[in-house]
Symmetry: C2
């Protein structure tokens, strides 16, 4: 996937058609936009959770992109692919999941469209209010610390359980990710960069490396089960050394674990392996 995506972006950029691609979302004036697909086959299998929970997660992962830029979600558009064999009850479950997520995140659904398809698919566009300072992926400097918030690894564990035919509790982070807008808002002025972990820490580090033309050295070895775990939606933070104690204090105040694991250095970094959906 990555090579074809890179080719697409490269061709588009050469033509002058695109710019700004690379962050979770893009800021234009006072608004931030993000668009992420969440599709059967690529991102989930239908039996993994109820349709209501799936729909909720589909919006939540898009909201995560806005939070990760320190923006406040306001509006959403949805292009929904509904399987041809869906009953009225199934359509209602989808609607309920979307409605619950809209309420939980304070988002109004303002438009979009629906099509019949062989697979279930959500493509949300989120529109958010930018804050004074937008958190971005570019701006990292040599010596900056890399850290992740909270707990990482549960998502891959949940996925493994599902792939083996097991079931997850509805409290599982894989079903309902933990988002941390208040923590992000308070930290942003002291950070040099940040993003949410959707494709696993290793792969997000590769993205940071490419965008910032820097590499990393790991101060703590990251086990594969952590580094490869995608769909975590915890935050990956780029912390300038002089603000490290400030960031630690904010994390403590929010009772959120902060795990420092690498520092930026000259060079480049490539992930040792692909994320779970390639």
């Amino acid at each position: 996937m990555r090579d074809r995506e890179a080719l697409l972006i490269q061709t588009l950029q050469k033509s002058g058609a695109s710019f700004g691609i690379g962050d979770d979302g893009v800021r234009i004036g006072e608004l931030v936009y993000a668009m992420d697909a969440f599709n059967e086959g690529s991102h989930f299998k239908r039996g993994w959770m109820s349709l209501e929970k799936l729909a909720y997660k589909a919006l939540a992962v898009n909201v995560s992109d806005l939070y990760a830029m320190n923006a406040k979600p306001l509006y959403a558009l949805l292009s929904l692919s509904i399987p041809r064999d869906f009953s009225a009850k199934e359509v209602t479950s989808l609607s309920l999941g979307i409605a619950k997520a809209c309420e939980a995140f304070g988002v109004k659904l303002i438009g979009g469209d629906t099509i019949l398809s062989s697979l279930l698919g959500f493509s949300f566009t989120l529109i958010g209010q930018a804050s004074k300072k937008t958190l971005q992926r570019r701006g990292m400097k040599g010596g900056d610390y890399l850290a992740y918030t909270g707990r990482v690894g549960d998502s891959l564990k949940g996925l493994t359980t599902l792939l083996r035919g097991g079931r997850l509790s509805s409290q599982s982070r894989f079903i309902r990710p933990t988002l941390r807008p208040k923590l992000i808002a308070e930290m942003t002025p002291w950070l040099r960069g940040g993003m949410d972990i959707s494709d696993g820490i290793f792969f997000e580090c590769e993205r940071l490396s490419r965008l910032n033309h820097l590499g990393f050295y790991f101060t703590k070895p990251l086990p594969k089960r952590l580094g490869r775990s995608g769909e975590e939606y915890e935050m990956l933070l780029v912390i300038p050394p002089k603000n490290l104690s400030k960031i630690r204090r904010i994390a403590q105040k929010h009772r959120t674990p902060l795990h420092l694991f690498a520092r930026a250095k000259r060079g480049s970094y490539r992930a040792p392996c692909l994320g779970h959906h390639s």
Copy 2:
């Protein structure tokens, strides 16, 4: 499709999650948003035209939604589903089509994402600058004239040719729709409503009927091959009687045929048959 879409929208509206659904796009402050999927299987077959032309059309039909509200397209986000078996050459063709359309319509692609899938699919979100007066679907009054612009019917003819295994010239309206932003801009102050014809005149009339709680009487019988022809992207106009001569003059100035065919009356209207993609 229509029943499931209606159920979805109804459930979402009851929950308070959504509003404003019904127009081609939605205006929020000075911006107008539109989102439309263009998917293999539902909207096209891959062999119907080159990948470059397909990608161009995918953006054009979204631009049409903004023009139909008298808005100027500025930015686009794209969620692109790329078939797993696509070669680098095929990805490049897609990029070229997108780039050409971006240039033709003055749109900058600012973000989105790509996923691997079994089918090719484009889901664009367009962001446009609203004009002083936005053209909408609501506002029709009894006695108003309905008219369509240009030539309608070619798209269904083109589709029929393709479904029979024939080929279309690259000049075909089915491949490259004719959009009329200048005409729309000049007419908007004198219109009571308008929309582009994406699902056929009959079905668009049904939409107008539902939104405005009015029916129609046909002053000129519309042959099925015209009324059912979708993906025309000509305009359907709602003209107050007092402005009819003004609208006629503007159409003449732009050398665009104007076909009056119905007037609004009390009651409701239901399309005699479905469009080609349901």
